[in-house]
């Protein structure tokens, strides 16, 4: 049984079909990449599987149970947590308190939640900034808080929406290291990313979305050599990204 499985998931906005009959599955322990040009429907797809949007059609199962119509907080309790592309740290809370909000999911007690938060903060390398307020952090710091908040909910599956965007190459390297540790801790991940080297290196398997449809699926080397993908997306973009990755 797959950890998460989506079948025929469709969502329309007015006349536009943002996500069209997408089939998607994630196995325990995998890192699955989700790529596609801007406006391909990646974020909408994340919103659908994390419960922020309800699909018009289709079925989404997590851990063997349907999660259609469940609230995001409920889906999070079941073990699937997401981060946001536009990061959302709680601005007036310290890093520790930010992460504690997530940790309270499985630790009702304040001291236990704090302990869990410290553990996660160390894991993502935010230790020295634990007492800072959310709004005082740099972009890299915010991205890590975003990750830490999600990790603190002790997810089985984490959906990461562009956690590398806006980072410098050295910060990207740091984040890749963190994701390695997260994987070692046994968390399955789906990552949406624009920085191609990252996604090619990290992912076990990749899905390509184009105009809301999943046009390809496979191992990174298969995806790179897939004619459809190259035509639709990678042809221009991969070259551009490889050349100017630091600018993105």
């Amino acid at each position: 049984m797959s950890l998460m499985e989506a079948k025929g998931v469709t969502r329309r906005f007015g006349g536009l079909t943002a996500v069209n009959a997408v089939d998607f599955r994630v196995e325990q322990g995998e890192i699955v990449g989700l790529i596609g040009p801007n406006g391909a429907g990646k974020t909408t797809f994340f919103n659908l599987i994390s419960g922020f949007l309800r699909p018009d059609e289709g079925e989404i199962r997590f851990d063997g149970q349907s999660i259609i119509g469940h609230k995001p907080s409920d889906i999070c309790k079941r073990g699937m947590t997401r981060t946001f592309q536009i990061v959302k740290p709680f601005p007036e809370m310290t890093v520790t308190d930010n992460v504690m909000v997530g940790a309270f999911n499985h630790h009702r007690d304040r001291a236990a939640a704090r302990a869990k938060a410290s553990e996660v903060i160390e894991l993502v390398g935010l230790g020295p900034q634990a007492a800072k307020l959310g709004r005082e952090l740099t972009v890299a710091g915010r991205k890590r808080v975003e990750l830490a908040k999600a990790l603190a909910t002790e997810p089985k599956l984490m959906l990461l929406d562009e956690v590398m965007a806006g980072l410098t190459p050295s910060e990207v390297a740091g984040m890749i290291e963190v994701l390695g540790r997260v994987r070692a801790a046994g968390v399955t991940m789906v990552i949406v990313e624009h920085v191609m080297q990252v996604i090619m290196n990290l992912s076990d398997r990749i899905y390509v979305l184009h105009h809301g449809e999943a046009i390809a699926e496979g191992a990174p080397d298969q995806i790179v050599s897939d004619a459809k993908v190259t035509k639709a997306y990678l042809g221009e973009s991969f070259v551009a990204e490889a050349g100017g990755g630091a600018a993105s």
Partner: protein
């Protein structure tokens, strides 16, 4: 360090408040008080401070912690007063129990309002508008419901020799201690919330609802719980008000001005902080009462209408009008100050006085560290 010093400060204030009634008539207190203020008037002012601090603390739970701006809390306050008073007048239930009936009732009303509003995703200004409309609807119903006295309200039965169970007292002192206890209990409750999971969740909701939902905060349920708890406290406050003034009437209680006064303390002191509403009430009420004592003493006795119709030259009328204003005009100076305070705080220290002070202290510390 700073927190420790603040605690000593609060403890000293508390001891002062506990022993104040015993010294309300002492020579020292009489000497330092503004002219013409008796010991019982002093206690009355403190009752008002405690009461408004309590009401503002009630509002703080939904309006401050959860960040859902209610401009209709006068409704919960009024409903609370009516429920316990009806229980007392018609069923003979002591207000000591009636106040809890009132709290349960207002909690249910609050939960109902919250369930409907939050189920349909009302946020920000739209939630605020629904609370305004809800309060107006409540006022109109009370105003036309004969059973509860309609526009005349309810005059509580007066006992010349009240017993404790009647929640009526011939001196101000018992009210003083009841109000003080209510304020302290509300502080304790909110302090506990602030440290609990619930408090973290509410703060998270206020700062970013989607982010909170994403990390497992059941935002809708938390908001409904917050408004129910807030409404329950406001209901308790309503009972106290009814017993203290012995007279409840819709047009004095369930009006926009009261809703605004309830939120004023928290907003000025620091919404979403434990001590904000208390600090706010300790600033507002003395300022308001002092203004009333100093500026609204006499009045010239002429009404504005008489003045307009008077057979005088325009210049004479204008001079007479200035006299009229100098004597306090038509009143309302205290509220003018409240309005100014609210705007000054919103523009100059948007988080309220306490967070503003904390920010100043943090900046001073940083400067000290930088120069060291």
């Amino acid at each position: 360090m700073a927190a420790l010093r603040a605690n000593w400060f609060y403890l000293a204030v508390l001891i002062g408040l506990l022993i104040l009634p015993a010294y309300a008539e002492s020579e020292f207190v009489t000497a330092v008080m503004p002219r013409g203020l008796s010991g019982s008037a002093l206690l009355h002012i403190f009752v008002l401070i405690f009461f408004f601090a309590f009401m503002s603390q009630a509002w703080n739970i939904i309006g401050g912690f959860a960040g859902q701006l209610s401009i209709g809390h006068a409704a919960f306050f009024g409903i609370g007063a009516y429920v316990s008073t009806i229980c007392y007048v018609h069923l003979g239930l002591t207000p000591w129990l009636g106040m809890f009936v009132a709290a349960v009732f207002t909690a249910l009303v609050g939960a109902g309002l919250g369930l409907i509003s939050f189920h349909y995703g009302l946020k920000g200004p739209f939630f605020a508008l629904v609370t305004v409309a809800f309060a107006e609807i409540t006022r109109l119903i009370l105003l036309h419901w004969e059973f509860v006295g309609a526009a005349n309200g309810i005059l509580l039965p007066f006992s010349p020799n009240p017993t404790f169970w009647e929640f009526q007292f011939t001196s101000k002192e018992p009210y003083y201690y009841i109000a003080l206890a209510m304020m302290l209990a509300s502080i304790a409750l909110v302090a506990w919330i602030a440290r609990s999971r619930f408090g973290y969740y509410l703060h998270a909701i206020r700062q970013d609802e989607d982010a909170a939902e994403a990390v497992g905060v059941p935002t809708k349920r938390c908001k409904v719980q917050a408004i129910a708890l807030s409404a329950a406290l406001a209901g308790l406050g309503g009972t106290f008000y009814a017993q203290y003034t012995q007279y409840i009437v819709p047009d004095d209680m369930v009006v926009g001005r009261v809703s605004v006064e309830i939120l004023l303390g928290a907003v000025i002191g620091g919404a979403g902080t434990v001590m904000g509403p208390i600090v706010g009430a300790f600033i507002l009420i003395p300022v308001g009462e002092a203004t009333r004592v100093i500026f609204e003493g006499g009045g010239t006795g002429t009404s504005l209408s008489t003045l307009i119709a008077a057979d005088m030259s325009f210049g004479d009328k204008f001079v007479a009008y200035l006299d009229y204003l100098a004597a306090g005009g038509g009143g309302g100076l205290a509220i003018i100050l409240y309005g100014c305070l609210l705007m000054v705080v919103v523009l100059g220290m948007p988080g309220g006085v306490l967070p503003w002070l904390a920010g100043l202290r943090a900046r001073a510390r940083r400067r000290a560290e930088a120069s060291a």
